[in-house]
């Protein structure tokens, strides 16, 4: 009886690990493949027999993409657009999230719901009207315009996320600060923001990653080198170089590096529980 129970558990464990390993391969496999490809010589990439582990390692692909294409420019544009998007989101979204979290006003629920509904429309549907609007105000092919476009669909998400963090900061702390001599805004900045700092960082990183990786809007709203971001630039290289696999892979690796770094930051800050001790417990 006990014996068979134990055996059943062993079988279940093996099955669990099998599924997990399979899924991990599926998720991480392409990235490992990209890394390996970026380190191969062009001649070793397309071969008769598959070469999984490169026999010869080279960094030529990295040098090539950084020096022989507009890649640094693309990365620079991406950095600018991402920075602008995050700045706009933090400046406006923080205030909005605080208002949603603390004030009861007419249309509050509907507005919050509206934010979600906006997210439900596929980006493809919004892209044409957005393009028309952007052209109308002369923001096509500008980094600021692209940042505004990103804000339009990332801000609702940011507000929703941040509202959750604000909700978990005890209201009594603000009441205490207001009695101690703060204004409402002062209490938010001095008391609530430090408490929600982790949430703010996490939400901002989330926004940053989304803006960094975005492709569709960037493809439609940028036309020239001046504002093109790396996902679009990388895609356009496919034609320019007749499928330079190694260089493309190197570009991919360089582009996801910032994302990996940012994620490392989110992980660390999200775990820290700063609110401990505010309330009894």
């Amino acid at each position: 009886m006990i014996e068979s129970k134990r055996r059943r558990r062993t079988v279940a464990n093996i099955a669990t690990y099998f599924v997990l390993a399979g899924l991990s391969m599926f998720c991480i496999g392409p990235m490992i493949w990209m890394l390996l490809t970026s380190l191969k010589y062009e001649a070793d990439i397309v071969t008769q027999t598959m070469q999984y582990i490169p026999r010869r390692v080279t960094f030529d692909n990295y040098v090539a993409i950084w020096t022989q294409s507009g890649f640094p420019r693309l990365i620079g544009n991406s950095i600018t657009v991402t920075f602008l998007t995050v700045t706009i989101c933090v400046a406006t979204g923080t205030l909005a999230a605080y208002a949603f979290s603390r004030f009861a006003f007419r249309g509050r629920t509907q507005l919050m719901l509206g934010y979600l509904v906006v997210r439900m429309f596929p980006a493809v549907m919004m892209i044409i009207p957005l393009y028309v609007v952007m052209r109308g105000v002369g923001l096509v092919d500008s980094r600021f315009g692209l940042a505004l476009a990103y804000t339009s669909f990332l801000l609702p998400l940011f507000v929703w996320m941040l509202k959750g963090f604000f909700d978990s900061a005890p209201r009594e702390l603000e009441s205490a600060a207001r009695i101690d001599g703060s204004t409402r805004l002062g209490a938010m900045v001095r008391i609530v923001m430090p408490l929600a700092r982790n949430g703010l960082v996490a939400s901002s990183v989330f926004i940053a990653i989304a803006a960094w990786n975005e492709f569709l809007f960037a493809l439609m709203l940028t036309t020239g080198q001046g504002s093109r971001t790396w996902p679009v630039g990388l895609q356009l290289m496919v034609g320019e170089f007749q499928l330079p696999w190694g260089v493309l892979a190197a570009g991919g690796i360089l582009s996801i590096l910032p994302v990996v770094v940012l994620f490392a930051i989110v992980q660390r800050t999200m775990v820290q529980g700063l609110t401990a001790g505010a309330i009894k417990g």
């Binding site: 009695i179 101690d180 001790g277 505010a278 309330i279 009894k280």
Partner: protein, 359 residues
Amino acid sequence: MATLSIKDVRKSYGSVQVLHGVDIELEDGGFLVLLGPSGCGKSTLLNMIAGLDDTSGGDILIGGRSVVDLAPKDRNIAMVFQSYALYPTMSVERNIGFGLEMRGVDADQRKRAVDDAARLLQISHLLDRRPANLSGGQRQRVAMGRAIVRDPELFLFDEPLSNLDAKLRVEMRTEIKRLHERLGTSIVYVTHDQIEAMTLGTKVAVMKGGHIQQLADPRTIYERPANIFVASFIGSPAMNFLPGRLASSPSGVRFAANGVSVAMPAGKRQVDFDRPVILGVRPEELKAVARDEASVTGVIDVVEPTGPETMVTVQVGEQSIIARLPPRFAGRRKEPIFLAVDPASVNLFDPDSEQRIDI
């Protein structure tokens, strides 16, 4: 130090009215306790005094100055919260000094004020710690330190002891009383604990359903409750209620019920005889006596010795009452018991309106 006047203050959320025209006057240096069950509006009233909630009508004056249009920071009050609401990112010292910091007091002066308050509350050794590293009682003291350091006109306490364990609660209660007597600042104190209300208040407002049921000093509230709700809310074990009738007899007016016959003191006011009334008797006003002195006759149901006294549940007719008798009371279950009542200590209530009848 200042007086507090609450004049016809009302509060409604949409169509729901939670406070119906509350009037309270608190003398300079007084200690007002707002007492009532959950949802009676006591915390709402406190928040409106603090300015954290808007009033829907009426006026609130602190030291003769109307404050309803002022922000909380401009009312010159300090508040101690149930959760203590210490700023978790700041040290104890900065927590206590935060109000002074906000008011632009310079660092030296601030340090001196914080040190004084810390010494008064015996938390000087904790100044460098964060709130997370304090025990419940220490947090409570820090919260009080943050209030007293500003020397406000009025202290507000929102159930400050309800998160503490029983022993610490008694200690801190004494501490608050000592603090009040030492500082002399007016205090408004919200609680649902009747012991806190009785021990601390110079004035107690018993609230229920957004109305003040009775506003008086603790002694009056205890001995002459305005209605059955107040009578049953204050006191533990609760006051005994016996339904019966008022009847005239050769020896004067008597209260009579099954197993009960209590002579009423000669009153100034004329009351209707032969009407149904409810007699209210505190458990400690009942004494075990010989049969011929008894005004209440019953059968012992439960005997519970607690140490300093013995609680005896007695079946009187269909009613069950509790008597607080001396520790060495020797009665047993099912035995008859004879109890006497001091007529001066009883209260009569109207069964319909549940209001007290003056006799």
